[in-house]
Amino acid sequence: MLTIGLTHYLIVGALVFGLGLFCVLTRRNALGVLMGVELVLNSANINYLAFARYGTFSYDGQVFAIFVIMLAAAEAAIGLAIVLGIYQTFQTIDLEATETLRG
């Protein structure tokens, strides 16, 4: 317990991932769902860096983490633009109210 190893970081990553997934599954506010996605991406980054540190000690994992951060930024920008578009159309961002496409 006192020496911190790979498993500790992996467990933290798994916990954050689980909470993010829970957020995505249960939130009905579109912004809440986006926050859940950010949590999931962050947990992936924790795992990347943990494996980079304890697995090989190369910098490939860190480069991948940068790409993940880049994609998260792009995702947030587009996602929030879509949310604002939904708000202008429906006057709400509750995902259950925006089901015009439901067959």
């Binding site: 939130r27 926050m35 480069v63 792009a74």
Partner: protein, 166 residues
């Protein structure tokens, strides 16, 4: 000492993530998200990823989180008492997350991870920069293209529709 710092930082991260997932107020969720991002940055520092930690603070806390708060404020009638951060289907979601978490936890705890002896942590910026300009040059350029596309897409999606009137 290292263990103490780790448990502190990890505790902040997980507790803030709990706040994001369970808070009933979307504004509180957004601020809890900041705690998660900062905690993750602390973990990155402990994993000898100094550059990523700084990028995490700059991009996530300085960029994405501010953007999210803007969106929260723009899509909310502030005076509205009925704060809409509803959660539905909690029980099925809890079941799914528990099963998945059990599988992941078992995989983490039972696998014999191949780890190496820990060398002294070096500043990572030089190696990352060299990687971007040699091995990862093509993904790097593609990333800039993706960012450009996201920029244009966000502008197109969120601009006001200007009708050409006579």
């Amino acid at each position: 000492m290292e263990a103490l710092v780790f448990y502190l930082v990890a505790g902040i991260t997980v507790a803030s993530a709990l706040g994001v997932a369970f808070s009933r107020n979307i504004v509180y969720s957004a601020f809890a998200l900041m705690g998660t991002f900062m905690g993750a940055a602390g973990l990155f520092v402990m994993l000898a990823a100094d550059f990523i930690a700084v990028v995490q603070v700059l991009v996530y806390v300085g960029g994405i989180l501010v953007l999210m708060l803007f969106a929260v404020m723009l899509t909310h009638r502030i005076a509205d008492v009925q704060v809409s951060n509803r959660s539905v289907g909690t029980l099925p979601a809890l079941a799914i997350v528990t099963v998945l978490g059990g599988v992941m936890g078992r995989a983490i705890l039972t696998t014999e991870w191949h780890t190496i002896a820990q060398p002294e942590a070096q500043p990572a910026t030089y190696a990352i920069g060299e990687g971007f300009l040699t091995t990862y040059l093509l993904p790097f350029e593609l990333a800039s293209l993706v960012l450009l596309a996201a920029l244009i897409g966000a502008v197109v999606l969120s601009r006001k529709e200007l009708k050409a009137t006579d």
